[in-house]
Symmetry: C2
Subunit: 305 residues, 2 copies
């Protein structure tokens, strides 16, 4: 139902066989991309996916490793004859940065809608998701994103019958709409629907020190994708200076936010032998997964009886 | 002596396992790069080469597939602590385009020297090469480049002795310098040096229809790297419309320019099964080589006795 694909896992610079960190979410015919560094369009092609149906792009910030692939991606979308508008969200400076990069992609057959994010937390709906953008702590303005797909409560047919609600209205009520009968009787969804059920939630944050905003906004995520730039303990000072995270710090956030699973990504180019650190990391948060390029998970609503 | 590496062979968009077309030439500790599309820094890393020592970049034109990798490449050079200036050459608009792309790479520890090319043909020296930029025929201003490494004539020791030239001056004369003795006698290189010998020449042109300027400037090249966007005969109309070349047209240019060998590159993303067209192409120019990503040749002065 919701396909979540970590297209790349590199931080700072793309490497042979390690694409820059970005996330593609596919849901209900709408594709959403978070970050687009150099080579992201190739990572997408390797996956066998098309850039054509990307409706929404979210940018965490404007360091090159997170946006340098944008002109190429826009042109790839244009080559696919896209005409539907594309919505791009990102921190302050969005239109200026994107238009500057578009010096090499000036003519596109689709419009770009800019949604600049300025408040510490902003909530909005796009592409079928309830999106929360939350400010994190990097050396330039940077945001994390939570994507939430809500799930309505269960329809109670017995309650509908007991209240003599005509069957012709059941479908509308099930979809959250209120209806009024010819005689003026109003029926509302709460008359027949149980409490909202567990939806699907994915949280993505990279290029930041650990923050309270991450712990709060990642709360209860099915997948929490978080940067882990370094794993060797002696890199902690570097992590603090460059405003990045250690594996263990990401794991502590995952534990605090009580997520179902943590995917580590945005690895330093110097990082090798990450596996040997996973024992220590899993002590903090057992369900930690070392991100791999192209790693994909399909999330579905949990059957609740 | 001169290493010539075709880093990629793709035109229009990078593909999995086909990097965008660009050329790296390494000579005498100086590296020169022609074009830098999305992923070129990864192609370079795959080769095991560093971006650190790139002194000169030449751009044919500013379509994204030829320059989209520039910000990432500049940052990779910066990460390697480069401080020596970088010279960038390209058609009209050079500084505007590069500065616009640098919105995501604003702070570099080295200066950029711009050398904009405007005349139909311009000649200049850079990085040990005699470079000729020549205008070609694309749908935006576009240039091809010839790189020439000259070779002095042979030193004639007998002539030096016969003319009583002191031995202490021989080295200077061998290096093309004139010298004056204490008694005012002047010695010039032509007194002891034979005629200039065959140097090394590499010509690169892409994104163009065949032109007389290519045939003239590629004359006698050791390697002629030329675009071959299409090979199927039914693509000729498309080649003409989009200002690109067929394999056979590149081969005709190679024959006309009497080059030693032709490397085809800048293949259309739709191009598959190119090998089956090579028989026809080789009828026109036998020494045609279908470019492969990372293909490298070392050129050396030919021993002339």
């Amino acid at each position: 139902m919701l396909d979540v694909c970590l297209l790349g896992t590199a931080g700072m610079m793309p490497l042979p066989y390690r694409w820059l960190t970005s996330l593609m979410c596919r849901y209900n015919g709408s594709d959403l991309l978070i970050d687009c560094g150099e080579g992201t369009q190739i990572a997408l092609a390797e996956k066998g996916w098309s850039p054509h149906s990307i409706d929404t792009m979210l940018f965490t910030h404007y360091h090159a490793d997170h946006i340098s692939g944008l002109p190429g991606m826009l042109l790839a979308m244009a080559n696919g004859d896209r005409t539907a508008p594309l919505t791009i969200c990102g921190p302050k400076g969005l239109a200026r940065v994107v238009n500057s990069l578009r010096v090499i992609a000036p003519d596109l057959p689709f419009d770009i809608i800019y949604r600049e994010i300025n408040a510490p937390t902003e909530e909005f709906e796009l592409g079928g998701y309830q999106i929360t953008a939350f400010r994190v702590n990097h050396n330039v303005p940077c945001y994390g994103y939570s994507l939430f797909i809500p799930r309505l409560g269960k329809f109670d047919a017995e309650a509908a019958q007991a209240q003599n609600i005509p069957v012709k209205f059941w479908n509308a009520l099930q979809h959250g709409e209120s209806v009024t009968d010819e005689d003026g009787t109003e029926y509302t969804p709460d008359m027949v629907m149980g409490p909202a059920r567990r939806g699907l939630k994915v949280t993505y944050t990279t290029d930041t020190r650990p923050t309270e905003s991450i712990a709060v906004n990642a709360k209860g995520s099915d997948i929490f994708i978080c940067e882990g730039m370094y794993c060797d303990r002696d890199k902690l000072k570097k992590a603090k200076t460059n405003k990045h995270m250690m594996f263990t710090e990401a794991a502590s956030l995952a534990a605090k936010a009580e997520v179902s699973e943590l995917w580590l990504t945005h690895f330093s180019p110097s990082l090798v032998g990450a596996e040997k650190h996973m024992k220590e990391v899993k002590k903090i948060f057992p369900n930690t997964i070392l991100g791999k390029d192209g790693m994909t998970r399909e999330l579905n609503f949990i059957d609740e009886e």
